[in-house]
């Protein structure tokens, strides 16, 4: 595939942050190009061939997206990305049904855009239950069942966590929601294109999808909105009534085409790619474990997308480790919050000790990751973790058999 030659530049660090974003697949770019130039029509123009051509392209892409999740193309709405999709799903449903039901159930490990939207709704008078997660990062179905009442309008649980990659039991959650008459929304930004999703089998009523997490362009996403039984929404953006009135504004034809093509490539290659990435991830983890004692994987390793590792390297602070491994691009926590010095709220929610949370890195593998890159990454990590442990007073104390918890630390 000539894709590889275009993506990889020798003078750049090895990219291991595929949960933050993905490079566009060159096949996607190729599909988009004509719609930036000579096929520039407005998909909503009905009076000439420029418009018809663009409309045909966005509708083809809509069908491609629908197929990826087992939906009907009429159920797909284009948005600017998963953040907008999550906002539209949660605010839209809450607003429409507020006279009948005013309660929302979500989890504490959701992406900030879901949590912040829920906080906003709380200020508007809605009540929100934030469910804890278990030590492995998965929601407890018993707790979820108990939290959903006859006042619950929406349950919003992410399909795959962006920091620890764990896959929530979607079908089981969907079943509970259907029984209780609540809508089920899932933020599938990290799941779509990576694991099989079927909105009907899983009883999903609303699903958010992002373009740039699936090797498509940034600035486009989709929201699946079930038609049977029908889910109603109040729109966030008003205007010309495009996208069945759910989302006004002229469609960005090239981006829509890119999202569709990206979805199709993911679908075609999903099985083979999952196998390949699982092998690479296992290779990385085994390589690290063989040479480094006291490293811990955060989150369930079995219920997890293949391309994610989140590891605590005990006694080594994550930021200093990232500063050392200059030839690797990884992240500590999620990119959205990595400017803050707080340890990850997701890891804290799993009950990971604060000191261990400070030592964690998120390593994301993806379509263009090679075995050689994995081996280089292992060598780099081993070298720098070993070096930083030699410099760590905590490592020294642990080697001397001092229990760090027995010391009265002065919080600062």
């Amino acid at each position: 595939m000539n894709a590889l030659a275009q993506i990889r530049r020798n003078d750049q660090p090895i990219y291991l942050d595929y949960q933050a974003t993905t490079p566009m697949d060159p096949r996607v770019l190729e599909a988009m190009m004509p719609y930036f130039t000579y096929k520039f029509g407005n998909a909503h123009s009905r009076s000439h061939s420029y418009g018809w051509e663009a409309e045909e392209a966005v509708e083809k892409a809509r069908a491609q997206v629908a197929k990826l999740i087992g939906a009907d193309e009429k159920e797909i709405i284009y948005t600017s990305g998963a953040t907008e999709s999550n906002n539209l799903a949660i605010k839209g449903v809450a607003e429409f049904y507020k006279d009948r039901r005013n309660h929302i159930v979500t989890t504490v490990t959701e992406h900030k855009c879901v949590l912040d939207t829920c906080r906003h709704l709380e200020q508007q008078g809605f009540s929100v239950t934030y469910l804890p997660v278990q030590k492995n990062g998965l929601v407890d179905l018993g707790q979820l069942r108990a939290a959903v009442t006859d006042k619950t309008v929406l349950v919003s649980v992410m399909a795959v966590n962006n920091e620890i990659g764990v896959i929530q039991p979607l079908a089981e959650i969907g079943k509970i929601c259907r029984e209780k008459g609540a809508f089920f929304h899932t933020d599938a930004a990290q799941a779509a294109g990576k694991i099989p999703l079927d909105v009907n089998a899983m009883n999903i009523d609303l699903m958010s999808i992002s373009g740039h997490k699936i090797y498509g362009p940034k600035g486009i996403g989709a929201l699946y909105v079930r038609r049977k039984p029908r889910v109603r929404l109040v729109a966030l953006i008003n205007g010309g009534g495009q996208e069945r009135g759910f989302r006004s504004g002229t469609l960005p034809t090239p981006l829509c085409v890119g999202l569709g093509e990206a979805a199709e490539v993911c679908m075609k290659e999903m099985d083979a790619e999952a196998k390949r990435l699982t092998k690479l991830r296992d290779r990385m983890l085994k390589g690290l474990q063989a040479k480094l004692p006291e490293i811990y994987v955060n989150g369930d390793l079995d219920h997890r997308i293949p391309g994610n590792l989140n590891i605590s390297f005990a006694y080594v602070e994550g930021e200093s480790l990232m500063m050392g491994i200059k030839s690797l691009s990884v992240s500590s926590g999620s990119a959205c919050t990595s400017a803050s010095l707080e340890p990850s709220y997701v890891l804290r929610a799993l009950g990971v000790d604060e000191e261990l949370a400070h030592t964690s890195l998120r390593i994301g593998l993806g379509r263009f990751t090679t075995e050689q890159e994995v081996d280089t990454a292992v060598d780099e990590l081993v070298r720098h973790v070993t070096k930083l442990r030699q410099m760590s007073p905590l490592w020294e104390m642990a080697q001397e058999g001092i229990d760090l918890k027995s010391i009265e630390w002065a919080a600062h």
């Binding site: 602070e317 000191e355 905590l394 020294e396 002065a410 600062h412």
Partner: protein, 143 residues
């Protein structure tokens, strides 16, 4: 975040990493910070018979700025009297390394570490003067 060359140099080539005998009478040890906050510094000084700091060692768990701050301080205190060393200000450390605003606390911690090491050394010599029995493990936490 772009770091200064001096900071990166101290991170990549830290000076004076290691440990001194914390039970020795001429060694003062400061241990400040907390693992839960993501920063712990252990700084040690060895004071010669002439009253000058003849050696300093550190180990730090923390970000690059914390490592650089403690490395720099060990360089600065060598050859100074403990009274002189005590006057090192966090602002001087922050300025020298051009720490970004979110990293100023690293320089504060480094100042605390040297003060804690000096306090530990003083406590030991005081005890020696009083002919008190050998002190407990020298772990001083910053206030």
């Amino acid at each position: 975040m772009a770091y200064s060359e001096k900071l990166i140099d101290h991170y990549e080539n830290p000076r004076n990493i290691g440990a001194l005998d914390k039970n020795a009478e001429d060694v003062g040890t400061g241990l400040v910070g907390a693992p839960a906050c993501g920063d712990v510094m252990k700084l040690q000084i060895k004071v010669g018979p002439d009253g000058l700091i003849e050696d300093a060692k550190f180990k730090t768990f923390g970000c690059g700025s914390a490592i650089a701050s403690s490395s720099l301080v060990t360089e600065w205190v060598k050859g100074k009297t403990i009274d002189e060393a005590e006057t090192i200000k966090n602002t001087d450390i922050a300025k020298h390394l051009a720490l970004p605003p979110v990293k100023i606390h690293c320089s504060v911690l480094a100042e605390d570490a040297i003060k804690a090491a000096i306090a530990d050394y003083r406590a030991k010599t005081l005890k020696k003067d009083e002919c008190a029995p050998e002190g407990q493990e020298a772990v001083a936490a910053a206030k």
